[in-house]
């Protein structure tokens, strides 16, 4: 029964990991940018949530759309300025700039908010509510809600990319930037929109993580970036629904590892990640011919 519990908890955690991963995947798919500051930006979103709630005393759930909008705006601005400047200077510079940003954000948070952990909505009955199946399996409503949120976000992204005006522009620019530009699309603006969408999901990821557990300045790299990346690789590079599969596989592996020995939780996830890298480098959901 304990093992069934581990698998169920793992699947639910997978939803959170998919939230971590879809922004990373989207930015790579459209701009070919691997954003090494991805995790730290999610942590920033968490801190923005904490700050917004503390400043306005609004109910913590209301802070979610506020944070998402702030992050989307930040995404657009950051893309149009620093990231765009880096992209025009090549892949190496893009990596250096986003890595620099990651370290600056992490140490900035450490400097201004100390290493203390913070949570969002702590003590609220919405956060701690749960239900039981049988006597041994207890499921937190929050985990179910976040899993549902991840599915909704992925569905929303799919619909957005396939049928909205900006979605079509984004796909056009991702496919062939020059051709899209010749047809009158300003690729810089389209990149900005894509970054805004990606950062909105990053905002959701950060605030969800802050609700399920606590955040501190190192959460971004130690947890969010690496888990997001592992989920992307396991699921398959460039596949949106693959991030959900990858997240679930990673979550289940971690929970089973923790079931064996609590200190194996993270290690089990990385072992599965490395195994996928060796056996199926194209990921679980992508066929070889497509990769």
């Amino acid at each position: 029964m304990a093992w069934v519990n581990a698998v169920i908890q793992g699947i639910l955690t997978g939803g959170l990991y998919a939230l971590f991963a879809c922004g990373l995947s989207l930015m790579f798919g459209v701009m070919k940018v691997v954003n090494l500051a991805h995790g730290d930006l999610a942590t920033v979103a968490g801190y923005v949530g904490v700050g917004v709630i503390a400043a306005t005393h609004m109910p913590f759930l209301w802070s979610v759309p506020v944070v998402v909008l702030i992050m989307a705006a930040l995404g657009y601005v950051l893309q149009r300025s620093m990231i765009q400047a880096a992209i025009t200077r090549g892949e190496l510079i893009t990596l250096i700039v986003t890595f620099g940003l990651s370290i600056v954000i992490e140490n900035g948070l450490l400097q201004f908010f100390t290493a203390n952990t913070r949570g969002i909505g702590g003590g609220s009955s919405l956060i701690s509510a749960s239900f039981s199946i049988g006597s041994q399996i207890q499921i937190a409503w929050l985990d179910v809600v976040i899993f549902g949120l991840a599915v909704v976000v992925l569905l929303g992204l799919q619909v957005f990319l396939s049928s909205s005006k900006y979605g079509r522009l984004i796909r056009a620019v991702a496919d062939d930037r020059e051709a899209a530009q010749l047809s009158g699309a300003d690729y810089r603006h389209v990149f900005g929109i894509a970054a805004a969408v990606a950062f909105a999901t990053v905002g959701l990821a950060g605030i969800s993580y802050g609700m399920t557990t606590v955040i501190d300045p190192t959460t971004g790299t130690d947890t969010i970036l690496l888990f997001a990346f592992a989920a992307v690789v396991i699921g398959g590079l460039g596949s949106l629904w693959g991030t959900l599969i990858g997240g679930i596989v990673l979550g289940v592996a971690q929970q089973i590892g923790a079931q064996i020995n609590i200190s194996y939780e993270l290690l089990a996830g990385y072992i599965v990640f490395l195994a996928v890298l060796v056996v199926r480098p194209q990921g679980l959901t992508v066929r070889r011919s497509e990769s």
Binding site: F28, V33, V34, L36, M82, A85, A86, T88, R89, G90, E91, L92, I93, T94, L95, I96, V97, F99, G100, L101, I103, V104, N107, G108, L110, Q111, T221, D222, L225, L226, F229, A230, V233, L237, S263, L266, L267, Y270, I271, F273, L274, L277, V278, P281
Partner: protein, 366 residues
């Protein structure tokens, strides 16, 4: 290549190709003098200053190795702390069995280099950004594994045995010499590697990987070699840190597996100038000045260092040394070739140098 053939066609056979415009022997003699002066420091300088210089030498070694990876082989690794940490542990483990930590330094370098082979096999199939994060995951996984082993300190780390009873001043001097030896050897290894055939291969890959591959250049092998050399260098530097601190701490607060080590080496290399051997020396100097001035302000030096690195990467991609080089055309360690056109004494051109690659890349990417 076209530069050479055009020039040959125009001017017949009066072309001369040398490593440098100036005589390299002078730099060689200069380097030896600098090393001798540096080696004599413990006889003149206070122990405290020497301790700071040890940190500088560690950062210099790390920055040079990161420069070799990113500046010459285009491999952006943000997981070099894996090898740095392994180096520290491969000094600790022999020391626990009675070997002098100083004698364990070569073991640390070799062990870190050997560890690079299987890790390369795992991550080499990924490119650029994904390669970068994969190295990070690899470093995290190695740190987690090491933390599981209770006999070498588990998650808390342990003090380095074998050096108790040494006079602190003598110990600092020996640590300094070890750090100097590691830095000099790492830089010499890098210099001769880049002057060898591998250097040419790396230039070819950097200018056009596909063309290099189709001309039979063993792209993977050259990168593997660079990855292994960089791992060994970082490992030796980690060993020096273990001796310097007299303890090995895995991840908590500035531990050997902390990503801050990669941040420091990358920022120092970028600020000084990627793709030049001199760059990391300048970058290390900048790092040490910032770190010493701001050390009482906690994390501020890393924030400022990061911002400076971003600024340099965006607005002066060849770094501070690149700015100097553009103005005065100085190459202390020439690894490219210099083409003497007939009759030309002032106008000149680099071929097969990193500068040519930079230009080509900058032109096509915009």
């Amino acid at each position: 290549m076209s530069v050479l053939t055009d020039a040959t066609a125009r001017s017949g056979e009066n072309l001369r190709v040398t490593r440098s415009r100036r005589n390299v022997a002078w730099t060689g003699i200069g380097a030896i003098i600098v090393i001798v002066v540096l080696a004599a420091f413990p006889y003149y300088i206070a122990s405290g200053t020497l301790g700071i210089m040890v940190q500088g030498l560690i950062v210099l070694t790390l920055a040079s190795m990161w420069n070799l990876l990113a500046g010459y082989a285009g491999l952006v690794s943000v997981g070099q702390q894996a090898f740095f940490g392994l180096g520290a542990y491969f000094v600790l483990i022999p020391a626990m069995h009675g070997l002098s930590p100083f004698l364990a330094l070569p073991i640390a370098a070799i062990a870190a280099g050997v560890a690079a082979f299987p890790l390369w096999w795992l991550i080499s199939r990924l490119r650029t950004g994904y390669f970068a994060i994969a190295t990070w995951v690899m470093a995290s996984a190695i740190a987690l594994l090491i933390e599981q082993i209770q006999s070498i300190g588990g998650g808390t780390g342990m003090p380095l045995p074998g050096l108790t009873g040494w006079d602190p001043a003598v110990l600092t001097a020996y640590t300094y010499w070890a750090g100097l030896a590691v830095a000099v050897l790492a830089m010499a290894a890098m210099y001769f590697l880049l002057r060898s055939r591998v250097g040419l291969v790396l230039t070819a890959i950097r200018d056009d990987e596909r063309a290099a591959r189709s001309s039979g250049v063993k792209v993977g092998l050259a990168r593997l070699l660079v990855f292994v050399v960089a791992a060994a260098g970082c490992g030796a530097a980690g060993g020096v840190l273990a001796i310097d601190l007299l303890q090995v701490v895995p991840t908590t607060s500035g531990g050997v597996f902390s990503v801050q080590w990669t941040a420091i080496m990358a920022f120092a290399a970028i600020i000084g100038g990627l793709g030049t051997i001199e760059g990391p020396i300048v970058g290390t100097a900048v790092y040490m000045v910032l770190q010493q001035t701001l050390q009482s302000h906690n994390a501020w030096y890393l924030i400022i260092l990061g911002l400076v690195a971003i600024g340099v990467a965006l607005f002066a991609r060849r770094g501070l040394w690149g700015l100097l080089d553009e103005k005065f055309n100085i190459r202390l360690f020439p690894v490219g070739y210099y083409l003497w056109a007939p009759g030309e004494t002032r106008r000149w051109r680099w071929i097969g140098s990193w500068r040519a690659g930079d230009r080509a890349e900058a032109d096509t990417s915009s």
